[in-house]
């Protein structure tokens, strides 16, 4: 990483950090990790690798819905991005099999706020 000039800063700011519309974000703040997000993150990474899926698994901070941790936001092309809450390994498996692979949202676990 080299020191940035103001123009280089502008350039990076205009780039799209979400290079693809296929990603999974796991909330990894202290409260998320306390609720088990660490294991879910590792599990999802493993499943994606095992099944050779073209989707990136990333970590992010706490969006505020702490009562519903672990939170996992999923974006797959052709479907709206949604946030799943209280995700355990069973739900994580459904996310992979139903949402990512079969392109259908999983019932009963979506937490959709007003914003």
């Amino acid at each position: 990483m080299a020191k940035l000039t103001p123009d280089e800063l502008e350039k990076i700011s205009k780039s799209n950090h979400e290079k693809s519309s296929n990603w999974i974000k796991v909330g990894m703040s202290t409260c998320g990790i306390a609720a088990g997000a660490g294991e879910i993150f590792d599990f999802l990474l493993e499943e994606v690798k095992k099944r050779n899926l073209q989707i990136e698994v990333k970590k992010c901070g706490c969006q505020g819905n702490c009562y519903a941790e672990p939170l996992v936001e999923v974006s797959v092309e052709g479907l709206p991005a949604v946030t799943y809450g209280k995700v355990n390994k069973e739900v994580a498996t459904k996310i992979i099999e139903k949402h990512v692979i079969a392109k259908m949202l999983v019932n009963d676990y979506i937490y959709d706020s007003l914003t």
Binding site: C31, I33, A34, A35, C66
Partner: protein, 152 residues
């Protein structure tokens, strides 16, 4: 002189107000601040031992005696208090047979109470070493502790 301590002090030597950071590193390594190290530190930093002790005894974080293999911290923040943290504390005391600030006879657990770990959404919360347990029920405590006992 302690070679580790020398290295640590060298790292922090040029920086003003380094005492608390050095004490943190010592405690990270040993679990508490041993008196012998405080004595050596006083010589290395050229400050009176009393100054070191006045800092250690002011801050809740620093311990003067070995704390036991596993550090249990029960959060007594407002949210946890409202959601039954005192009952969790009582149950811990009953099972372990110690009061706050004490180590169990087998040296396995040290029981501490902290004011707010910042996980209020999961109240009541407790930490054992670096692992945070949320939404803890009184009935689960024996199970949680048994995992650490089994490891021995």
């Amino acid at each position: 002189m302690n070679p580790e301590l020398i290295k640590l002090v060298e790292e922090w030597k040029g920086k003003d107000g380094n005492l608390i950071m050095i004490l943190h590193e010592i405690q990270n390594h040993h679990g508490y601040v041993p008196r012998e190290l405080s004595l050596e530190l006083s010589k290395m930093l050229d400050i009176p031992l009393a100054r070191i002790y006045e800092v250690i005894t002011f801050y809740n974080f620093f311990k003067l005696s070995p704390p036991g293999k596993h550090l249990i911290r029960i959060c007594m923040g407002t949210a946890c208090y409202l959601r039954g943290a005192s009952l969790i504390l009582e149950e811990m005391k009953n099972i372990l047979g110690v009061q706050e600030g004490q180590t169990t006879k087998d040296g396995l657990f040290y029981l501490d109470v902290v004011r707010c770990l910042g996980c209020c959404g999961l109240a009541p919360v407790l930490m054992i070493d670096n692992k945070v347990y949320g939404k803890v029920k009184k009935s689960e405590i024996a199970d949680i502790l048994s995992k650490y006992i089994k490891e021995e």
